[in-house]
Symmetry: C2
Subunit: 328 residues, 2 copies
Amino acid sequence: MQKHNVVIGIDIGGTTTSFGFVDRSGALLCEETLATQGTQPAYTLVSRLHDSIGKLRLTLPPAASIAGIGIGAPNANYLRGTVEHPVNLNWGASVNLAELFRQQFNLPVAVTNDANAAAIGEMLFGGARGMKHVIVITLGTGLGSGIIANGELLYGADGFAGELGHTTVDPEGRRCACGKRGCLETYVSATGLCRTLTELLELSPDPSLLRESAISRLTSKQIYEAACLGDTYALAAFDATARTLGMKLADAVAHTNPEAIFLSGGVAAAGDLLIIPTRRYMEEFLFTPYKGKVQLLRSELPEGSGAILGAAALAWNEVDTKTNATHP
Amino acid sequence: MQKHNVVIGIDIGGTTTSFGFVDRSGALLCEETLATQGTQPAYTLVSRLHDSIGKLRLTLPPAASIAGIGIGAPNANYLRGTVEHPVNLNWGASVNLAELFRQQFNLPVAVTNDANAAAIGEMLFGGARGMKHVIVITLGTGLGSGIIANGELLYGADGFAGELGHTTVDPEGRRCACGKRGCLETYVSATGLCRTLTELLELSPDPSLLRESAISRLTSKQIYEAACLGDTYALAAFDATARTLGMKLADAVAHTNPEAIFLSGGVAAAGDLLIIPTRRYMEEFLFTPYKGKVQLLRSELPEGSGAILGAAALAWNEVDTKTNATHP
């Protein structure tokens, strides 16, 4: 019998919280969801999770032993274990989520943001296994990123390394929810893709499958489907997105020189439609010493359960680094 | 008597090669220069350095013992110990400089590019002592950079991490010597400053202290002196440079989240004229979680001998990491 053979991975979203037990190999043994109820205080969610996880545990073999808990959450800071100023949760300026979980579960706890969890997940369980220098980009409503350098997630001085979504594409560009102008995520994300398509439609009266859709109803999935049917505007929107992403990924390479960049999240599900042109633009913008040396790949973590696996990977990483005492 | 109490620091430039003995504390005990003679093969320079260093060693106390050699060189790759495609040296596509030095001196050798050496120098002997997350920007003819993450220089997958000079400011912008368009160093560097001033003069007929200077003769030092005398164009050129640098430094923070950024090199000698507006623009472009948390400072390494000290720091770093066997 093996001791400590599973961890709990938790993905806290604005609406839904998913959780499950994950073993050493990254197998998701069982999973469950509950409503986040973001208007309630954080400790209410932690308490409800304690109950639900207790029930889910009964489905595991009796010999199973839990090594730790990993949590991916919006606006989470790994160094402090906090969630700070979350947009869709009524948790105030700062909640020490790691401490709440530690008190409730009495287990090692690690908290980080979704994109960092995705990066650790890719390194431990996904396509980045064996790689030491990697960037993972999550393309959903916004653009998140996690940077692996020398085989470890880069947290930086303040726990906020890897916020490529808020690098500047155009200082006079689109207004971002963060208050700045021209941030990468206003161009490259589900929202950014819709904004690009809307702009393109406004520039010309030519027919498009998407012209009927009211701007407010337009989704990135509709644009993807229209692109698959050959719609000129949808294809142009993907091309513009790929160019901006390719340019900024080339910048990212000039910072940390990864061997591979992985795209994950909803928009990355567009697959070749996005990855092939992004790869071409990235190569075009790469500084000569990097050309032909950086792979652009799609995440190998399964779409739905990727975030739980990422959070579980964070827990395993925490357990391992605490055991080896090599972590700062 | 202490064993291995000095290292040799060597700064290979296109025209001049400087070298000296440096102790643990970063004190430059003695230094010397010789002509690089870049038309000759690399081994000729290594052999001439061996002779000159042998002579310089006679000025040290007999008890002095050399721990290793650090070399800063253009287009140098730390991971491979090579100099690749140097622009101003007739050394061919790739020379294994580390191996040449090892054969000639029989000592531990580390080779890296100037900006990486400057970053390690700042961390071991300069203003970044005690810091773990730092970016050092060298502003000379071009723009070099070295990134410290978790207390170690970031080399990346291929030894070329930290080439911020070739991140893109404007994809339709100025042509760069690297073959791309709109690279940061075409705007922010001695050359970039001169190009900005020339463009500003062309846009308006108003008088300027610098209008007389032929474009080919214009230097960043002249622009600095004119700015100190209140010349509108010179001040505007510094302001434009500061804005572009501030914007790209804010991007750099969103990658590696350093606690401080240091500016060194010739253009950084402009001091407050550059640093004060750059700090203001950087703050403006910073993503909210970073605001007010990243220091922008001038290098504390002495201007003339900074590169030797940086190379020496690289040597000490090499000796220490080899001793502790923590380096990959």
